[in-house]
């Protein structure tokens, strides 16, 4: 009996280490472009709670109409917040640099940085931030990332969120016959004060060709360049 238990124990730990070795081979490093065709979208009818619907109706009553050609927060260089940074479809890539302790994700647009801890479990007492606090664990070959402490966005925002928001992402890499190397991220947004049920989106990214790096995109550089050039040409969207 004891021998069989020992054998089982040995096999179990060997299997676990084998899985860990397999998981360690999942390397998310690289420059990734959103695949607009293959990626999902936010549902057109989002499952807002009755309270959130009422709050949004009130906000619209008080603030609309808004001229988006003049009053757009991203145009004003206000950067993205999670989960939108992972669900937006643009021509701008991000770069993942993975080490055993941590995964860094560098976005091109707005030059933002996500840090996903692979080893530390402590949450600390950090204030809410746009990228929140992320911790990850392996589930087989998938990396499951949980993010909390995300800066909440008000009811009238395109993507409102509460302090209770929790975003769960499942990262995996693979090869697609047509597109080549692919990164898949299944994003689930849990936010009971905002949504009656979790919102799920499946995002797909394609590996950039060799030699393509995340570039310098400094929002607001147009104002600086004009000032430096001493140009009298007016920037039309400001």
């Amino acid at each position: 009996m004891r021998w069989s238990l020992l054998v089982l124990f040995t096999l179990a730990t060997a299997a676990q280490s084998g899985v860990a070795a397999e998981a360690a081979k999942q390397d998310f490093s690289g420059v990734w472009f959103p695949d607009a065709k293959a990626s999902g979208r936010w549902p057109t009818e989002r499952p807002f709670t009755p309270a959130m619907l009422a709050a949004r109706a009130q906000w619209n009553k008080e603030h609309t109409p808004i001229d988006l050609t003049r009053d757009d927060e991203n145009l004003s260089c206000i950067p993205y917040t999670l989960p939108y940074v992972m669900t937006t479809i643009t021509q701008y890539p991000f770069e993942i640099v993975a080490t055993p302790q941590r995964i860094h994700l560098f976005t091109e647009v707005f030059g933002q940085v996500r840090r996903i801890d692979l080893q530390s479990r402590e949450h600390g007492d950090q204030l809410p931030s746009r990228m929140g606090q992320s911790h990850a664990r392996w589930e087989g070959t998938e990396l499951v990332v949980e993010t909390t402490r995300i800066l909440p966005l008000h009811a009238g925002h395109r993507y409102p969120s509460s302090p209770a928001q929790r975003v769960v992402e499942r990262f995996s890499v693979g090869d697609d016959a047509r597109s080549g190397r692919q990164l898949k991220v299944e994003v689930t947004v849990h936010d009971p004060p905002v949504y009656t049920e979790p919102v799920v989106m499946r995002m797909v990214y394609t590996a950039a060709p060799p030699g393509i790096e995340v570039g310098e995109y400094i929002c607001g550089q147009d104002l600086w360049d004009q000032r430096r050039d001493g140009s009298s040409s007016r920037i039309p969207w400001r």
């Binding site: 730990t13 607001g220 600086w224």
Partner: protein, 251 residues
Amino acid sequence: MKFAGGLGTVAALALHLATVQVAHAASPAAAATDFSGTWLPDARRAEPWPSSLPLTATTRRFMERFDAAQSDPTTFCMPFGTPRNMLQTGYPLEIVQTPERVVMVIQPNLANAEVRRIPLNAGPLPESPEPSWFGTSRGHWEGATLVIETIGMRDDAILGDDGLPHSGQLRVVERLHLERDPERGKVLVDDIELHDPQAWQGTLKTRRYFSWAPDARPRDPTCVDALWTEKLWSERLREHARQAVPAEATP
């Protein structure tokens, strides 16, 4: 039976350890010198420039007329840029190191995180890279010292609050190594050399110290929010001024 059971436990343990070791060996081997982690610049040990720098006449004139409100890019939330992002002493420096590259991340309270990508052993620098805020770099190890050469930095960036400028010809050479300080623990030392014949004669040299600070975390920048708020407020004030009605005459 007990003895056999004991041997079995040892065998199981040995096998467990062996499989765990195999798993770890599958991950990239750590470099002999590892700069990875978060570092806080030590402002007290930042070597100031000598009082009299061998500046060219053009540089002198620029500095005499320098008005930060007009000519400091950071006033407009534009980056420090390289090498000002290494000379500054206000914000943490994070280093992510892999066998192929060193990535340095500085997150000041400006529009963007400043990400320096330094390929290691990647051949020579390109002849005339497109000017950028963070420059184009190449790195290589000389023993335990990381040597980084950077060119292609925008000439509208400056080197410090005093407005010390540089031209597009600037070449920066850094030599980074670790020290163990009895008081401060692990310390990263960056010896910085600046070459720019258009801006000064000879080489400007300085040193920066960074203390190991694994718990330091950058905060969300507020620079852009402040600019936007300022814009909204000034528009609102203009609107109020336009709508202002004369005081009603007392009956």
